[in-house]
C-alpha cells in the first residue's frame, strides 16, 4: 500500500540549531499519528515542512506518490493537506461565522468578484460545521472576545472546511486547562468522525496520546527517536529519558 504521505531524509537547520535531522516517515491513509517531543524537538518544524511553509535543506516530501517538496502552503492546501496552528491563526476582528466563510471562499477555486460570500448554501455549511465543533452558540461573536479553547476549535474547524485528506494539528489542546483537554479532543474526534481523514497531531499530554493515537512518533532535537504503536513507543527507554520523563 503506497503511503498517503511520505517524508524522506528531511534536514533543516536554523543557524547552529538542527531542527530536523534525517526525518523519514511514511503515513498510511486513515492513521491517527501523534507527534511527541519536548520543547524545541522539531515537531512544528516538521509540520511546517510538510505544509510547504518551510523548505527542507535536504530531503523530499511525497503526497500520494507525488513530489511536493518545492510547493508552498497554498498549493499543498489545494492538494488536500490542511493544518491548524499552535497559536490559532484567525481573523480576530471578524465574527466566528465570517472566519468560516473566509475558509469557504478561499477554497472556491477562482475567487468570485461578484458571487456573494454569504450565500444560503455557504452559511448552512458553515453553520453545520460550527455545530459539529459545538461552536454554533458563538457564531456571531467577534473572535478577539473568545476564550483560547474556542479559538483552538475554530482554528481546526476552518482547516476542515474543504474536507482535507490529511489534517495536521499542532498542539490542539495546548493553552486549555487540564480538565478541558479530554472534552476538547472528544469534540475534535467526534467532528472528524464522519470524515475520511488521516490525522497527525502534536501533543504533550501522554494520556491524550494513549487515548487518541494509533501510532506515536517521538522527536528529540530534530531526530526521530522512536516510531510505532503507543504501547511500544511510550515504554521505550530513550523516549522515557528524553521525552516523557523530561520537563513535562
Amino acid at each position: 500500500m503506497t503511503p498517503i504521505l511520505s517524508a524522506r531524509g528531511l534536514n533543516k537547520r536554523f543557524g547552529a540549531v538542527v531542527a530536523a535531522d534525517h526525518v523519514s516517515i511514511d503515513i498510511v491513509a486513515g492513521e491517527h499519528v501523534s507527534l511527541i517531543g519536548s520543547n524545541g524537538a522539531g515537531k512544528t518544524t516538521f509540520v511546517n515542512m510538510i505544509t510547504g511553509y518551510l523548505k527542507p535543506d535536504r530531503g523530499e516530501i511525497f503526497l500520494e506518490g507525488r513530489d511536493v517538496t518545492a510547493l508552498g502552503p497554498r498549493q499543498i492546501t489545494q492538494l488536500g493537506v490542511a493544518r491548524s496552528f499552535q497559536i490559532p491563526q484567525l481573523c480576530a476582528e471578524m465574527s466566528v461565522l465570517d472566519n468560516m466563510l473566509v475558509a469557504a471562499a478561499c477554497g472556491d477555486g477562482a475567487l468570485s468578484f461578484w458571487r456573494p460570500a454569504h450565500t444560503r448554501d455557504k452559511l448552512d455549511r458553515a453553520a453545520a460545521l460550527l455545530e459539529r465543533f459545538g461552536l454554533h452558540l458563538h457564531s456571531r461573536r467577534r473572535v478577539a472576545e473568545l476564550p483560547g479553547g474556542v479559538r483552538k476549535l475554530l482554528d481546526i474547524a476552518m482547516a476542515l472546511t474543504h474536507r482535507p485528506k490529511i489534517l495536521l494539528l499542532d498542539e490542539p489542546t495546548s493553552g486549555v486547562s487540564a480538565d478541558e483537554k479530554f472534552p476538547m479532543m472528544d469534540t475534535v474526534t467526534a467532528a472528524l468522525g464522519s470524515e475520511d481523514v488521516t490525522v497527525l497531531f502534536v501533543e504533550h499530554d501522554m494520556d491524550i496520546v494513549t487515548r487518541y493515537a494509533s501510532r506515536v512518533v517521538a522527536f528529540y532535537s530534530g531526530r526521530i527517536l522512536a516510531d510505532g504503536a503507543p504501547d511500544q513507543v511510550l515504554v521505550d527507554e530513550e523516549v522515557k529519558r528524553y521525552v516523557t520523563g523530561s520537563a513535562h
Binding site: T51, G72, P73, R74, T77, Q78, A82, R83, Q89, L90, C91, A92, E93, M94, D98, L101, V102, A103, A104, A105, C106, G107, D108, L111, S112, F113, W114, R115, P116, A117, H118, M158, A159, T161, H162
Partner: protein, 318 residues
C-alpha cells in the same frame, strides 16, 4: 419599498435618480462642486478598496493624472469627443498603466506599499513637468466633450457633466459594493488580518492584492477623466503628492465600512476647500487638518461607521 431600498443596487439607483432630479435645481457653482466630489470620490473609493486589503496607496495621483492626460490627449489629438467613451477610456488607460507594477506591489505591505506608490506618482509628475509637448508645468486645455453624439450647449454643460459624474460614480459605487460583499471581497478583508491563514486556506494573497491594485487604478483613471472634463484643463499637479494626499484624506475620513461615506467625505472636502479658500485663504489645509484630527479622535473608523453602526444595531434588535 423599505425592503427594496435595503438592497444596494436599488438603493444606488434610487440615490442616482434623486441626485439627477436635485441637480436641475442646483446653482452652477454647486453643480461643479458636486461633479468634482463625485470624480475625486471615485479615486478615493479605489483607495478604500485597497484599504480593505490592508494597504493604502499614497500615489493615486499616478492613475488620476494617467487617466486625465489620456482623455485630454484622445480628445485633442485623436478627436474622440464622446464623454462616456472618454470616461471609460481614462479608466482603461490607468488600469493598463498599473498592470506592469501590480505583481511587484502586491508583495509589499504597510509603509513600503504606500511609499512605492508615492514614488511612482512622483516619477510621472517629474516626466509631465519636463515634457514640453504636454505643456510642461502649465499643462494644457481640453476641448469640451460631446455626449451620445450631441454637442453640449454652454447653458447645459454644468448639468450634463454633473449627470455623467453622478451616473458613473453611482454605477461604480454599486459595483464596489457588490465586490465588497463577494467571496473575493471577504478574502481581501481576511488578508488585512491574517495573510498566513489565507494562504493556508488555499487562496493567493498576492493575486488578490494585485487585482485590487488594478481595480483601484481603473477607478483612479475614471475619476481623472471626469475631473479633466469638468475642469477643461489638465496639469502635472494631478500627479503631485498633495493631490494623492487629498484622496487618502477622503478615504480615511470615510473609513472602509461604507461606499456611500466615501462620496460624503469627498463632498465635505470640496466644501471645506471652497469655503475656506474664500474665507481663510492660505489656511484651508489647516482647517482640513483640524477636521481630520477631530474625525480620527471621535470616529476612528470613519464617518461610514456611524450609519453602518446604526444598521447593525437595528438588525440586532429585529
Amino acid at each position: 419599498m423599505k425592503r427594496l431600498l435595503a438592497h444596494p443596487v436599488w438603493a444606488g439607483v434610487a440615490g442616482m435618480a434623486l441626485l439627477l432630479a436635485l441637480g436641475a435645481a442646483l446653482p452652477r457653482w454647486l453643480l461643479f462642486l458636486c461633479t468634482m466630489s463625485a470624480a475625486n470620490g471615485i479615486v478615493s473609493l479605489g483607495i478604500v478598496l485597497l484599504m480593505r486589503g490592508g494597504v493604502v496607496s499614497f500615489g493615486q495621483g499616478l492613475v488620476f493624472a494617467g487617466g486625465g492626460y489620456a482623455v485630454a490627449l484622445m480628445a485633442n489629438k485623436l478627436g474622440v469627443t464622446d464623454a462616456l467613451l472618454l470616461t471609460f477610456a481614462g479608466g482603461v488607460v490607468a488600469a493598463l498603466m498599473a498592470l506592469p507594477f501590480a505583481a511587484l506591489l502586491a508583495r509589499y505591505r504597510g509603509i513600503f506599499f504606500s511609499m512605492l506608490t508615492l514614488a511612482l506618482s512622483m516619477v510621472l509628475y517629474g516626466v509631465l513637468v519636463k515634457t514640453e509637448s504636454l505643456g510642461g508645468s502649465d499643462g494644457f486645455n481640453m476641448s469640451r466633450p460631446t455626449i451620445l453624439g450631441m454637442r453640449i450647449a454652454d447653458a447645459w454643460s454644468g448639468y450634463v457633466l454633473y449627470a455623467l459624474a453622478v451616473v458613473v460614480s453611482g454605477v461604480l459605487a454599486i459595483l464596489a459594493r457588490i465586490y465588497f460583499e463577494s467571496a473575493r471581497g471577504l478574502v481581501s478583508l481576511a488578508i488585512r488580518e491574517n495573510e498566513l491563514r489565507v494562504e493556508y486556506l488555499g487562496a493567493s494573497t498576492s493575486r488578490v492584492m494585485a487585482a485590487n491594485f488594478v481595480i483601484a487604478a481603473f477607478m483612479g483613471g475614471v475619476g481623472g477623466a471626469l475631473a479633466i472634463m469638468a475642469l477643461g484643463h489638465i496639469e502635472p499637479q494631478f500627479s503631485y503628492w498633495t493631490t494623492s494626499g487629498e484622496f487618502v484624506f477622503v478615504s480615511i475620513l470615510a473609513g472602509h465600512y461604507s461606499v456611500f461615506a466615501v462620496f460624503v467625505a469627498s463632498f465635505i472636502l470640496e466644501l471645506v476647500r471652497s469655503f475656506s479658500s474664500a474665507y481663510f485663504p492660505n489656511t484651508w489645509q489647516m482647517v482640513l487638518g483640524i477636521f481630520l484630527l477631530i474625525v480620527i479622535r471621535f470616529l476612528p473608523r470613519g464617518i461610514g461607521s456611524v450609519w453602518v453602526g446604526w444598521q447593525a444595531r437595528k438588525e440586532g434588535r429585529s
